[in-house]
Amino acid sequence: MFRFVITRIGLVIPTFIGITLLTFAMIRLVPGDPVELMVGERGLSAERHAEMLHELGLDRPLLVQYGEYIGGVLHGDLGRSIVTKRPVVTEFFTLFPATVELSVCALIFAVLVGLPVGIIAGVRRGSVFDHTVMSIALTGYSMPIFWWGLLLIIFFSGILGWTPVSGRLSLTYFFEPKTGFMLIDSLLDGEPGAFKSAVSHLVLPTVVLGTIPLAVIARQTRSAMLEVLGEDYVRTARAKGLTPWRVVAIHALRNALIPVITVIGLQVGVLFSGAVLTETIFSWPGIGKWLIDSISRRDYPSVQGGILLIATTVILVNLAVDLVYGLINPRIRHRR
């Protein structure tokens, strides 16, 4: 197991270095003068320009610049936002909990619905339920989620008036963020109604963001279930006279879950992509919206830092999934 862990971590390092190269190169690839891009001012005087060039280290050899960039990254220094002048890291981690809260809720929603539905569809293969669920899953998989979000707003906020259109909390409530997670903060604050308001703001974004993972998980669970149900040990379990429920829940499910867990892990990237769209539709103050806003404001240090942090998060989560996969599936761990 130790060797397995070390190999996997070893594989991650070159990818991380590659990502830093990419973000380092990015700001130099953008057309225009890098000093003006970094400082966010146009028409600098020649002296001021040279001064900034030196200050930003852009007059040194590329390799030295990259070394300094890496040094900064390893110390948690990703530069300052052009617009707010605050450190990019601070900006990112102020907004990160909002995205995490939304993503976690979306993933829980996708797993809670997708897993049982996939299992039943697999067990009752060819039934009306199976066909219906798989058609819905394919539709969900093909869904332009930004449009899906607008439709839900039309129906639930416009026609029924059940849910708010945007934001994380009704303006009538205010409290200092303690954890950054609105559900927890509103509970800690104890103001009646605050928690309910937080939940009602969260429902639609969760459904929108969870739709594609839900479809993927349901499809994957079904096909994993079908594969496992054809195995010899399932036949053995049935032959022993175990109840069908026990065969499915105890014998088949545990093995069917192995590929499903990988797929759930892979959804992290999908969730980040989806968060960009979902947060834009619902004006959710998370890093997806922040990144898009930063791009349209040409706040390149923020874009650069944000991309690096998101990529790092995705790499780390995928690494964790890989390790868990090795833990629950000895066949992977011992393969050379």
């Binding site: 690839l29 332009p144 990237g269 791009i295 991309i307």
Partner: protein, 300 residues
Amino acid sequence: MTASAEAVKAPVARPSPLADFWHSFSENRGAVVGLFIFLLVCIVALTANWIAPHLPDEQYRDHLLAPPFWQAGGSLAFPLGTDAVGRDILARIMFGARYSLAIGLIVVTLSLTVGIALGLIAAYFRGATEIAIMRLMDILLALPSLLLAVVIVAILGPGLFNAMLAISVVYLPHLVRLARASAIIELSKDYVTASRVCGAGALRLMVIAVLPNCMAPLIVQATLSFSNAILDAAALGFLGMGAQPPTPEWGTMLAEAREFVLRAWWVVTFPGVAILVTVLALNIMGDGLRDALDPKLRRQ
């Protein structure tokens, strides 16, 4: 030759590969429906000039935000209603089909060509070249797909062409991996050795001998990339980073319609339906193609 001998001989004749493919493809009824819908979208795109009721950017100032014909205040002159500046939505969706199909086609062609080339190069040369290519693909894979596209557009600047370029880059890793993996398997087979013995050069060996045998999974992946490209281009258009207004691209139409979401449902609904139907048809077709082309990948 006697009649009976002929009767015995007749069934031995193998069906043409195309007929064989159609036979297994048409077994999947959903896939045929998908193909039918996709062809319909193609026809609409090609004939939009003649069948669209209006020009896509003609503004009818007396009919701002007119509802579809079945609602009070709607008229058959604008079957699906008009948008905020009085443009006919049906016409815009019909012309929009051109953009979506062109996007799919260009993205798939670009990423398939480059992806196959890189995959074959990695499989042929192995060693440092392979490591360099595959590591680069790993880096691209580490970034969430839409985010990578957004970053590339941020570098290149917004616009339809740059968006297509960005999406092509995003789809590269999967195609490179597929091409490399199948090429490596093929390279160890006897016919490749035979071709080498006959003196085939690298280019001939890889393109004429190996490539045709690697195509099945690549075609399946290309179909799926086609539908994903339409979705991602619409998403970029929606974020303001793809096609720019007043282009009647479906995602861009949705972005323009966003502020009317609670006032005029039709402005928001129909472009999205167009995206969903096209993408869904392509995905169903992709499932059928996979079953027909690649028995190894056949669904359980």
